[in-house]
């Protein structure tokens, strides 16, 4: 395993590499491409935290836990709520902030505040030739030149190795509460979630779990305000159902975020991003033996399918994309991890890869053949 100690060291290693590198942070997502391992775990440290400017800058290998602990001292947080993949994937290791960014990992609050990519202010990376590049910066508004920040975010280490990220952060709310609607089928859940998200009551989580048909709607903020909005939301949905307060609500959303319901169950796990109103039809097409959990108001379907199921083939044509998150080696060999792209888009993506990594040594084949 190559463990560069700083950015220059990393640049040197990439320049010197003669064969493919498997780029990872803490290795918690267990990527399966062949090559020499390269970890950013040695590039650590928070280089700037300015609570008054809602900004934090950290080297890529900094553990997410360290970032979160530092933010907690200012009563702030990573609002996009990145999931911890370890329970679901059964992996060990320490999730790093660079890994979160490289995979654009966002949790339930994505529906209200945006994804990891929306909180990215700037980054530094080393491309496939060993060249050090920066883009964006540490300020909230910046349109200077092309936005390579968003291009690199979610590029899964295929365009460059991210060495430092700067992020916008948000204040922690005073409290939270969750309205639980039991006994709903998917169609009813989508309807309730759409009504809630289309209300002015600032819903920051809208999920549905098949077990018990529970639909969950989260509100956050100052105590008085949450109480008032919860009242209005219940009126809107004509719901006199239970409300989870504070810690109980927090625990529920942590489990939803990490999809722990599928952790112990055997089978493949898929993440399918869809137009929320399409979700009932798509879930129906997934067919028998597939369990689902919905997030993002129905726009994100987590599916647990029997090993080796080609879920994309079952769904057929749809607007969105399906990613294979967990599978055994045989399934991975048969099915691409990422949704195959339309020809014109695939050509652009391939062109970009050829520019950023002309030798094709950074996680080759991970995002496209």
């Amino acid at each position: 395993m190559l463990t560069p100690k700083d950015e220059n060291d990393l640049a040197q290693m990439i320049r010197g590499a003669a064969s493919p590198l498997v780029v990872q942070g803490g290795g918690t997502r267990g990527m399966q491409v062949a090559g020499t391992g390269l970890t950013t775990a040695g590039l650590t440290g928070i280089t700037l935290y300015e609570p008054g400017a809602l900004t934090i800058v950290a080297r890529a290998g900094t553990p997410v836990a360290e970032v979160e602990a530092t933010l907690a001292t200012g009563n702030q947080r990573l609002a996009f709520e990145p999931m911890d993949h370890r329970p679901l994937l059964g992996t060990a290791g320490t999730p790093t902030i660079g890994g979160v960014v490289a995979a654009n990992v966002s949790g339930p609050r994505r529906i209200a505040v945006g994804a990891a990519r929306d909180f990215m202010l700037g980054l530094r990376y080393v491309d496939g030739q060993g060249t050090i590049v920066k883009n964006g910066g540490r300020v909230m508004k910046n349109v200077t030149g092309y936005d390579l920040v968003r291009l690199l975010t979610g590029s899964h280490g295929t365009l460059g190795v991210i060495t430092e990220v700067s992020l916008k952060v948000l204040p922690c709310p005073e409290t939270e509460a969750t309205l639980v609607l039991p006994g709903q089928d998917i169609a009813a859940a989508i309807q309730a979630m759409s009504a809630a998200l289309g209300s002015p009551f600032e819903v920051t989580g809208a999920a549905h779990v098949a077990a018990g048909g529970r639909t969950l709607l989260r509100l956050e903020g100052f105590g008085d305000s949450v109480a008032y909005r919860m009242g209005r939301l219940r009126d809107l949905l004509r719901a006199d159902d239970a409300v989870l307060q504070g810690d109980e609500s927090t625990a529920e959303w942590a489990a939803l975020r990490d999809v722990t319901a599928f952790a112990a169950a055997p089978g493949d796990v898929w993440r399918v991003s869809v137009k929320p109103s399409d979700a009932p039809g798509i879930v129906a097409r997934m067919g028998d033996g597939v369990q689902v959990q919905l997030d993002w108001g129905g726009g994100m379907i987590w599916a647990l399918a029997p090993a080796g199921t080609d879920l994309r083939a079952r769904i057929g044509a749809f607007s969105g994309h399906a990613t294979l998150v967990r599978a055994d080696a045989a399934t991975r060999a048969a099915l691409p991890v990422f949704q195959p792209e339309a020809a014109a888009v695939a050509a652009l993506s391939a062109g970009l890869r050829a520019q950023f990594d002309p030798r094709g040594i950074l996680n080759p084949g991970l995002m496209a053949a």
């Binding site: 994804a115 910066g137 300020v139 030149g145 936005d147 991003s273 339309a342 888009v345 062109g351």
Partner: protein, 482 residues
């Protein structure tokens, strides 16, 4: 500001290009008469003008594809145009270019409240997108001050921001999908009603690419339900330092206002003389607006008032009703008009870390004396996006040049303070040659490599964003190919 010399080979082809365009477009969509092309000679950076060779005004994605295919095969540069309100010269033509204006493409294609999206043709103006969903109390969040005129096309190209972006983000945070035509005529779909990219975030790169990667013809935008209410509070202080400190303390207290606007003394004086909003005469004025339910507003304003009072304000005024709220915003909203009455002005757009606000304002004050030109500052304080307005007299020989030199020094100061050249207006031609102060040669090379993929012949808006000397080798290849 230098522009590349027009390509004589392209100019010589004008008649043929016009004829080919008329094969695919109705007569009234192709403008080639010199008297008429003049209407497109500049955008809102009016100091620079150049009539284009031809102007085309298509009405569909298919027509845009035909136009680009023809221009590609004839080697003609294309400059996309929305409403022409760019303050950076982004839509400035060259004499050998085709201006591709999307102003006639302004249909609403789909409104979907359940999925909270609207799909529009990109020539539609920003405000009329919100207008199309107002009946259900929804809105499109990014609200540039130019929203009555500017088009979604230009908003996407510049990744435009607005007064409320501290809470709602800028265009890139509200854009879900586009239909875009590449220079060779290929139509590409990216994103849609679902969230996030399945592969590389190409949508993220398109947004803010200043019309250099493709012509965006349709867009899927996120719409939001309007908050229950909003209320501003105004506070005046004796020093910029204290006002800057108040902003920082408010944010640290866990309050997230939708807007925090800052005005300095020259700006307050000009606005007061113009709009008579009843502003206090002081060094620094803050307008802070919060949104939400009545309970939320009361609670947040309570915290803000308490912080404001601790810092010895010369004035603290909370709006009690819509009328008072209007008066608090009146001066700020007329800032540009007020300046325009006094003088010609140049509006800058650098961003700085909020913590360096006092230092940067002090340096701007010193430089103002050195250059002998007055400056007024309006400022989105929550996000550090400054708008220094340099006052000059366009009729006085040498004043514009002095103003530009002063502006360049201010932008370099922003970069030096840890910020950037432009927070929302874009680079265009205006900040093109300053890019080397923010980026290394490698940084710029990485950006240009993206254009190489989308537009290998460098025909789309080629003389913008990158310093001419830096982009010269790539543009020279395009010229030689003709």
């Amino acid at each position: 500001m230098e522009m590349p010399a027009p390509n004589p080979v392209v100019l010589a082809r004008k008649a043929r290009v016009v004829a080919r365009l008329l094969d695919v477009l109705p007569k009234n969509a192709v403008i080639h008469d010199d008297a008429e092309t003049r209407a497109y000679e500049c955008d809102a950076l009016t100091a620079y003008r150049c009539p284009p060779m031809i102007v085309v005004l298509p009405t569909s994605t298919a027509e845009v594809s035909d136009i680009l295919r023809i221009c590609h095969s004839e080697g003609v540069p294309v400059v996309p145009r929305g409403s022409g309100t760019s303050l950076a010269g982004g839509a400035l033509p060259t004499a050998d270019c085709v201006i591709l204006g999307v102003a006639r493409m302004n249909d609403v294609l789909e409104v979907d409240y359940d999925n909270r999206i609207i799909r529009v043709q990109t020539g539609r103006t920003n405000l009329s997108v919100s207008g199309a969903v107002a009946e259900e109390d929804f809105f499109y969040a990014p609200d540039p001050s130019s929203q009555l005129a500017c088009a979604i096309a230009g908003n996407i190209a510049m990744n435009s921001g607005g007064a409320h972006c501290l809470k709602y983000g800028v265009t890139t945070n509200n854009l879900m999908g586009v239909t875009m035509v590449l220079m060779d005529g290929t139509v590409v779909e990216m994103g849609g009603a679902h969230l996030d990219a399945g592969g590389l975030d190409l949508l993220g790169v398109i947004c803010g690419s200043e019309g250099q990667l493709g012509v965006v013809t349709e867009a899927t935008l996120r719409i939001l339900r309007k908050p229950e209410g909003a209320r501003p509070i105004l506070m005046g202080y004796d020093s910029n330092e204290v006002a800057g400190e108040v902003v920082s303390v408010i944010i640290k207290a866990g309050v997230l206002p939708v807007a925090i606007e800052f005005m300095d003394r020259p700006c307050i004086e000009a606005c007061e003389a113009f709009a008579k909003a009843g502003y206090p005469m002081c060094e620094a004025l803050l307008i802070v607006e919060v949104e939400g339910s009545p309970a939320e507003i009361d609670h947040q304003l309570g915290l803000i008032k308490e912080i404001a009072a601790r810092h010895n304000p010369v004035e603290l005024r909370e709006a009690q009703d819509a009328d008072e709220a209007g008066r608090i915003w009146l001066g700020r909203k007329s800032a540009f008009g007020a300046m325009g009455q006094i003088n010609d002005y140049m509006c800058l757009d650098g961003t700085i870390p909020v913590s360096s606000l006092p230092y940067v304002l002090r340096r701007i004050g010193e430089m103002s004396k050195e250059f002998g030109l007055d400056v007024a500052n309006v400022f989105h304080a929550g996000d550090g996006n400054m708008h220094p307005l340099i006052l000059f007299d366009a009729n006085k020989p040498g004043d514009l040049e002095r103003c530009e030199a002063f502006g360049a020094e201010i932008l370099k100061l922003c970069v030096e303070a840890g910020g950037c050249l432009t927070g929302e207006h874009g680079v265009g031609i205006e900040k093109r040659d300053l890019m080397v102060h923010q980026f290394t040669a490698e940084d710029l090379e990485a950006q240009m490599a993206v254009k190489d993929v989308f537009d290998p012949a460098w025909l789309l808006n080629p003389a913008k964003v990158f310093p001419l000397t830096v982009s010269a080798p790539r543009r020279a290849v395009a010229m030689a190919a003709e």
